[in-house]
């Protein structure tokens, strides 16, 4: 097929904090000293630069280097961290899947009288976790703020609503990207309005499309991962932005980190922003090996925990969203550069799970690449693998991002053995500077529903629940959680509501016409043989529903979190470039 072609100097894929850092850095030096004006262009899949999702509390070290006079008040929804606490949450409903050790610890804490609101405040925040002097933010507003400043320089163009289908790979050289076709039906067949995606050629392609971006994954497939690297640890982060109730005494900048509830493996957060707004959310990690794991139901139980609910009761949901996190960090780092390309941000393994931080690290990797590109432009040197390694990779290896990523590299391996070993492993790695850690377990298949609930729910009862879910179109995770003793959610229509209402009222999700479905299944038979359908259970937006031969996909609901990719142990989900998704700018 003949495609139109445009040539630019740099093309970027995805606009998030990493690309924001990159574009901020180079746009300040354009036009270059020799008077040339490189053409820099960035394509973002989402319909607006502000439609990202993150629960952001950050030390902001990299940001403050880029913006030495940064005043948080200039960024909507940003506030300096005022107070920070870490809580271990007990189980107030008795349904959490806790080990005997944890139950004993809970009992001891209750008896000791050191708990309040079913929570135990840790007397000390480990230095690798604390965010004193940092910021709480909305990633959507931050991205919008950065995008406005970059665009106003006139030195770079950032185009939202334009998915990049793939990198143009010639041998092992990346020549640019191809945009997604428009004017096609859901299966990708051309209609009368067909417009083939254009080819954008550039000497340098910058890939910052996040943990599940199609271009980043394409490069992973083409080049593989460096020896010894693996991308095994993932999480779904889901959050709500809440109008706090009248009389709430939480001050802007208040930060709660929590762990222990709704399941011991689930971490949570509450960050207070200006104007009586808070971001509240949880992370469902891949090591929660429940085949019917659901982020949304767990999020609601988290909101209802006494420590959190006492601040939220009477509040109102403003926004909702979710994303996938690549928690493998440094160990999952792909090849960072090659001939004509470089990777930055979360997709390049910059997220630090020990510090619970990703935005500042992503930003800094973008800045590092920006400095490298400016240096190569000054030298008149081409964007070869060797030159990018000499500049960008060297800067990155000698930075705090790398140093702290090394400390975190094996910090969470203990979670493969359980929550208590996991926490011990984190402490061991954190306090030893990464020299010590608890070893993990080899990668293994997710247990079946029957195995996971063995001893709690008889197999025949699970079969009956599956039948009920199939017959009545109910979510299996809801039925199983009810059976495990989790109480029904008392919907109030304000903060506690159905997942679809959260999608509509909070996520405001929509999809532009004229694009193909971006979630496909490679082999129908593989889906037919899959009993777990974890992709359906984990789907953050109920966009995937049970179906035959493959789950049905409704892209009008999809928020592009990508949880279906890594929850399919058969690698049968083909997650492509797509338009649409969240339309909230507050997450």
């Amino acid at each position: 097929m003949e495609r139109e072609r445009v040539d630019v100097d740099v093309v970027c894929v995805g606009f998030g904090p990493a690309t924001g850092g990159f574009l901020t850095t180079i746009s300040r030096e354009i036009p270059l000293n020799d008077g040339t004006f490189p053409q820099v262009i960035c394509y973002e899949r989402a319909d607006d630069l502000a439609f990202g999702v993150s629960g952001v509390v950050t030390k902001g070290r990299g940001l403050r280097v880029s913006f030495p006079d940064l005043n948080p008040a200039e960024i909507p929804m940003a506030a300096p961290v005022a107070s920070e606490k870490v809580y271990y949450l007990l189980d107030p409903v008795g349904a959490s899947r806790r080990s005997a050790t944890l139950r004993a610890a809970d009992a001891a804490l209750r008896v000791s009288g050191s708990c309040k609101d079913e929570a135990f405040e840790l007397p000390y925040i480990p230095p690798f976790l604390e965010k004193h002097g940092g910021l709480v933010m909305s990633i959507g507003q931050f991205n919008q703020w950065v995008g406005q400043q970059v665009m106003m320089t006139g030195a770079a163009q950032v185009w939202p609503g334009t998915p990049v289908a793939e990198a143009l790979i010639d041998g092992d050289t990346v020549r640019g990207v191809q945009l997604a076709d428009q004017g096609v039906d859901l299966d990708g067949n051309p209609t009368s309005a067909f417009q083939p995606g254009m080819e954008i050629h550039a000497p340098l392609t910058v890939i910052g499309d996040g943990p599940v971006g199609p271009v980043g994954r394409q490069l992973d497939e083409h080049f593989g991962l460096p020896p010894g690297h693996e991308q095994r640890e993932w999480a779904v982060g889901m959050k709500m932005v809440v109008d706090l109730p009248e009389g709430c005494t939480l001050a802007p900048g208040t930060v709660f980190h929590t762990f222990g509830y709704p399941e011991p493996e689930i971490f949570g957060f509450l960050y207070v922003q200006p104007d009586s707004v808070a971001s509240v959310g949880i992370f469902i990690p891949s090591w929660l090996e429940n085949p019917v794991r659901t982020s949304y139901r767990y999020l609601q139980h988290y909101l209802l925990h006494p420590l959190v609910w006492k601040h939220l009761q009477g509040g109102r949901m403003r926004s909702w969203g979710a994303k996938t996190l690549n928690e493998s960090g440094r160990r999952g780092e792909p090849y960072l550069v090659g001939d004509g390309w470089a990777r930055i941000g979360e997709g390049s393994g910059s997220t630090n799970v020990l510090a619970g931080s990703g935005v500042d690290e992503a930003w800094t990797t973008g800045v590092q690449l920006g400095k490298a590109v400016l240096e190569l432009w000054r030298e008149g040197a081409p964007f070869t693998k060797e030159n990018l390694e000499r500049t960008y990779v060297t800067l990155r290896r000698n930075s705090w991002v790398e140093e702290e990523a090394r400390v975190a590299e094996y910090a969470r391996d203990g979670f493969h053995r359980g929550v208590v070993p996991g926490m011990l492993g984190m402490a061991l790695a954190g306090f030893s500077g990464g020299r010590l850690h608890l070893p993990g377990l080899p990668e293994h298949a997710m247990p079946t529903l029957e195995d996971f609930f063995s001893g709690r729910i008889p197999p025949e009862e699970l079969a009956a629940l599956k039948k009920q879910a199939e017959t009545h179109g109910e979510a299996l995770h809801d039925l199983v959680m009810n059976r495990c003793g989790w109480p029904e959610i008392p919907y109030d229509g304000q903060l506690l509501m159905s997942q679809q209402d959260a999608l509509l009222l909070g996520g405001k999700v929509q999809a532009a016409p004229g694009y193909a479905n971006h979630v496909r299944f490679r082999d129908d038979e593989v889906c037919g043989r899959c009993g777990a359908m974890t992709c359906v259970e984990i789907c953050s937006a109920q966009a995937l529903m049970p179906g035959k031969p493959t789950p049905s996909f409704d892209r009008e609901k999809c928020i592009h979190c990508g949880a279906c990719i890594w929850n399919c142990e058969f690698h049968n989900v083909d997650f492509r470039a797509g338009a649409g998704g969240l339309h909230s700018a507050e997450n």
Partner: protein
């Protein structure tokens, strides 16, 4: 073949239709809570006018399209990064409020003044396009006032079709009752056309169009002058219409059952 047109499209910015809006009282009267945080779109009716303008300009060589828009500069930039990929235009930007709680006459004066200042504009070939309706509570009256300020007496509202005859006559179809159109033959420009929805689909994104627009877009935004629209019309209060929302999950209901329930609900 008719002479080229100079088409000026007046288009405001409105919050993305999916957003939850909340009017609040500020020092200058009502405003939208978090207006600058909300994602925005080009007013949907005016956007149709822009698509029609672009289509017309393509069909008559030598025609030019200007987009004149007033909104807070950051919002305008955000919206235009989406629109600029779809159609070609030259931007005239005004930095002012877009909440809808403004004196429409003052907005109209500002827009008219900006149009009068467009370099190279041939007023005798001017077609002033905009939305017949507005998502910004201006109800389309602004466009009519801009036309009056510019001295254009031929004004048409709720336009769905504009055909240009070989003799240069404008055949204009305005919506009327019962799904019918009133057809008028107009001798030629200048004329004001307030568009309904027109008949054109939203154009796909075109990187080439975007890059071409960027040559004028950013300089125009950087030059955008602040437009004070204080005083004049006073808003004493603002409130949202009462809404009732109840959610039930019902499986396998027939279309007839759903329709019957909705009809019963409407009847009260």
């Amino acid at each position: 073949m008719t002479e080229p047109f100079h088409i000026v499209v007046c288009a405001g910015v409105a919050p993305d239709p999916l957003q939850t809006l909340e009017p609040v009282m500020g020092p200058q009267g009502p405003t939208l809570k978090n207006e600058l945080m909300l994602p925005a779109v080009l007013d949907p009716w005016a956007a149709h006018a822009l698509y029609e303008a672009n289509h017309l300009a393509k069909s008559i060589p030598g025609s030019r399209v200007w987009l004149v828009s007033m909104a807070p500069k950051p919002k305008l930039q955000q919206v235009l990064m989406t629109m600029a990929q779809k159609v070609s235009f030259e931007l005239v930007a005004l930095d002012g409020p877009a909440s809808g709680f403004v004196d429409y006459a003052q907005v109209a004066y500002a827009l008219a003044e900006a149009i009068e200042g467009i370099e190279g504009l041939n007023r005798s070939r001017l077609l002033l396009f905009g939305g017949w309706e507005s998502a910004g509570r201006a109800a389309g009256v602004t466009l009519a006032m801009v036309g009056e300020r510019l001295g254009i007496t031929e004004q048409f509202q709720a336009v769905d079709v504009l055909k240009i005859g070989d003799d240069g006559l404008l055949e204009i179809h305005e919506r009327a009752e019962g799904g019918k159109h009133q057809v008028t033959l107009c001798g030629g420009p200048p004329a004001v056309l307030g568009w309904a929805t027109g008949n054109l689909p939203e154009p796909p994104n075109s990187p080439q169009t975007g890059m071409a627009n960027m040559r004028t877009l950013m300089p125009a935004l950087q030059k955008a002058k602040p437009v004070p629209v204080n005083g004049g019309l006073q808003f004493t209060s603002a409130s949202l219409p009462r809404q009732q929302r109840s959610t039930r999950v019902v499986k396998d209901a027939s279309a007839e059952e759903v329709a019957a329930e909705i009809a019963a609900w409407i009847r009260g």
